[in-house]
């Protein structure tokens, strides 16, 4: 309803004086904003009372930066709005060569442990990356395909992780037995949450899922008898190679992985195995999503995302359709969670905060909602960037928040804007594609 009240596209190019004045105003605002928070740091004084440390040099630098940035921006944009509706060159490239990129990425991922540069560290980072890719793909079902904003995705990740940890510890079940249980439990949690709330409007849904994520976390913290409270669960059984453990000295009657294949014992075996396990889970997720998009249910999700009222008119039950998306997304979250638990060997509520949900959401959003390759690119950016620049660790979330805002402004549909329906009744003249 707000489409028509944008300012008309006046193409009057402002003069230099007006630009400097505008930049000076922006710098002044920045100065006032930064002066108390950045310029005066509250620190405990010698007598325990708070005193202030002054950093007005930083404030001045910040204001100057805003001045120059604003000036540069006004020259770069020349009065045009920042947002672009059209797809950028990256997006065109990916939509044209998407399949080849996918194959190349897959080959690289499969060959990674054999590469000369792959140390234990590289494989570890790669495993983390693959897990985020999998979570991104899972959330993509909910956010990208069905258009439901889920801010509590980490709750399902937590359900998966805790179900694996508890079933493995108390009932001695193995990873492969727990994996479906974790997925089913997470899906059930998704249905239990989704059933009452999926009738709500999109942004209400966002807040309720956020609340649900917090409820799960608070229950995990406070339900000491089962979850171990804030201390979490330690000594979660590590994965085995289909029954052959990765230990140097296997117990009575057991054969270890290295004995089975006649290899020298190495801790790398488990790391590489975990990597392939994560990759396999992620690929299953990807295959599932790619296939289900072409089924009636997948088309119903995309139709529902575009226009709910039209869907109702066509006889699609919106609540049930959304519920399937929600439950399936939750299930993949649960799978990823149980992998997380077996990989870490230790879980606590600390790992399942809102920030984690925000990171997964950021991956989906930055990648371009609905785009599978976009998720991989965005996950790579988000996971690898802090690894490359270790000293930027503190600023990671700052960068994150700013990137979410800027990407929404610059390209509201994500880096790889891929909101084309998977199927079209009448292909566009000129061969489709965005």
């Amino acid at each position: 309803m707000t489409t028509a009240i944008r300012a008309p596209a006046v193409s009057v190019v402002p003069g230099l004086g007006a630009r400097v004045k505008d930049a000076a105003l922006a710098a002044f605002v920045a100065f006032v904003l930064l002066a108390p928070i950045l310029g005066m740091e509250t620190v405990p004084g010698p007598d325990g009372r708070l005193t202030l440390d002054f950093h007005f040099d930083l404030v001045a630098i910040g204001a100057l930066g805003v001045f120059l940035g604003r000036l540069a921006l006004s020259f770069a944009l020349r009065g045009r709005p920042l947002a672009r509706a059209a797809a950028g060159p990256l997006s065109v490239f990916v939509s044209r060569y998407g399949n080849w990129l996918g194959v190349a990425g897959l080959v690289f991922a499969l060959a990674l442990p054999l590469m000369p540069f792959s140390s234990r560290y590289v494989i570890d980072v790669a495993t983390t990356l693959v897990i985020y890719v999998m979570l991104g793909w899972g959330l993509n079902i909910v956010v990208g395909l069905a258009g439901l904003l889920d801010l509590g995705y980490v709750a399902f990740y937590a359900v998966g992780a805790y179900s694996y940890a508890l079933f493995a510890k108390w009932f001695g079940l193995g990873f492969w037995a727990c994996l479906p249980i974790a997925g089913v439990l997470a899906a059930v949690a998704g249905i239990l949450l989704g059933f009452p709330v999926l009738r709500l409007r999109g942004d209400y849904l966002a807040i309720v899922t956020l609340g649900f994520g917090e409820i799960i976390r608070l229950v995990l913290i406070n339900w000491h008898e089962v979850t171990g409270g804030p201390n979490g669960i330690a000594d979660i059984p590590r994965p085995s190679f289909f029954g052959f453990p990765f230990t140097r000295n296997p117990g009575e009657g057991e054969i270890a992985f290295h004995q089975l294949f006649g290899l020298e014992f190495s801790t790398m075996h488990r790391v590489v195995f975990l990597y392939y396990l994560a990759l396999a889970l992620a690929l299953v997720t990807n295959l599932f999503v790619l296939r289900i998009r072409k089924l009636p249910i997948g088309r119903a999700w995309e139709a529902l995302r575009e226009d709910e009222i039209a869907c109702k008119a066509l006889g699609i039950n919106p609540t049930n359709t959304k519920l399937t998306a929600f439950a399936l997304g939750a299930m993949f979250g649960g799978f990823a969670g149980s992998f997380f638990a077996t990989r870490q060997g230790f879980i606590s509520p600390e790992s399942f905060t809102f920030i984690e949900s925000a990171i997964i959401l950021a991956i989906v959003v930055l990648g371009g909602m609905g785009s599978q390759i976009g998720v991989v690119l965005a996950a790579a950016v988000i996971v690898l960037l802090p690894e490359i620049a270790r000293e930027l660790e503190t600023y990671r979330m700052l960068f994150f928040g700013a990137a979410m805002v800027l990407i929404m402004i610059w390209r509201p549909r994500g880096l790889l804007a891929h909101r084309e329906p998977t199927l079209r009744l009448h292909p566009r003249p000129g061969g489709g594609g965005s």
Binding site: M1, T2, T3, A4, I5, R6, V29, V32, L33, P36, I37, L38, M40, E41, T42, V43, R49, L50, T51, L52, P81, L82, A83, L149, L151, P196, V197, L200, R201, G202, D203, Y204, A206, I207, V208, L210, G211, F212, E214, I215, L218, I221, N222, I309, I355, A358, A362, V365, Y395, M397, L398, F400, G401, A402, A403, M404, V405, M408, I409, R413
Partner: protein, 304 residues
């Protein structure tokens, strides 16, 4: 009975704070139909500006509490309002008319940004403010229980009532209030009738931020401890209050805040303090399911 009264007093004071934050959510939602997810962070910044202003005044040797309070109140309102204005200008205005979830995602990004910004610049540790106002009234009943109303609680209630009265007047009588009500009814039509929509929306954010700044100041005085993370929970609870009262309705936001504050106080007083946040979220879910338009809200008509 005395225990009940004490919880009632605590609940009312807490509810007033929630109500003030909730108005910001409710107004913005009423006009542009988005959840300003960063509003909780605006409240947190209000609390931090108050803390910094108190510390600065303390270092300058201003020790007369009423003067300090007035100065801090005005400073916090001015600076926090500017934050509210800037957030709208940077993160929401370019997205007006974009697809539905874009402003919400942008708001989440803004919220993360502001939280980390304060965490980096002010440190992650809990900040403790020396009590500025102490004391209050104490009553003792026959069975020996005491009921305390602190000066801060009285201040919170009075200040909130004054602000509410002033605010109701602004909405009902001033040109700005008229423009806001026009925008709430129909943004496009208001623009056609000559209402400066961008300016009205900006001022709505400024007013919301000013009220959040007052809430931040009062929370700083009331609890005495703040950290960079307080905005998240307060924001979600205030949003719950806004939904509870009927989002888009200003008296509803205040009412919702009161109901939530009382529910939380009685829950902590009679059941378990660990699960008080769970109680707040559960109320949100239950309200949305059974009373999606809230107590004072109007049903939304979906037009094609």
């Amino acid at each position: 009975m005395a225990y009940f009264l004490q919880q009632l007093i605590n609940g009312v004071a807490l509810g007033m704070v929630y109500g003030l934050i909730a108005i910001g959510y409710s107004m913005v939602y009423g006009i542009i139909g988005m959840i300003n997810f960063a509003h909780g962070e605006i409240y947190m910044i209000g609390a931090f500006v108050s803390l910094i202003a108190f510390t600065l005044l303390g270092m300058l040797g201003v020790s007369w509490a009423p003067l300090a309070l007035v100065v801090v109140l005005l400073t916090a309102i001015a600076i926090t309002s500017l934050y509210g204005w800037t957030v709208e200008r940077i993160a929401y205005r370019p997205l007006r008319g974009s697809f539905r979830l874009a402003p919400l995602i942008s708001a989440i990004g803004m919220s993360i940004f502001l939280q980390t910004y304060v965490q980096i610049t002010q440190g992650a540790k809990i900040k403790t403010l020396q009590p500025v106002i102490t004391g209050g009234f104490t009553f003792t009943d026959a069975s020996g229980f005491t009921v305390t109303i602190s000066w801060i609680q009285i201040l919170i209630v009075l200040l909130t009532l004054v602000l509410m009265a002033g605010f109701t007047w602004v909405i009902a009588k001033t040109p700005l209030g008229r423009a806001q009500r026009a925008c709430q009814q129909d943004l496009k039509m208001a623009a056609l009738c000559g209402v400066d929509v961008d300016r009205t929306i900006s001022l709505t954010f400024v007013i919301g931020a000013a009220l959040a700044a007052v809430a931040g100041l009062m929370a700083t005085l009331y609890y005495g401890v703040i950290d960079f993370f307080i905005g998240f929970l307060a924001g979600v609870k205030a949003f719950t209050a806004a939904v509870l009262g009927g989002i888009g309705s200003i008296p509803g936001a205040m009412l919702g805040g009161l109901v939530l504050g009382l529910a939380e106080a009685f829950w902590s007083g009679y059941f378990s303090i660990e699960y008080k946040d769970v109680a707040a979220f559960t109320i949100l879910v239950i309200v949305l399911i059974f009373l999606p338009t809230g107590i004072l809200g109007q049903p939304e008509i979906e037009k094609v």
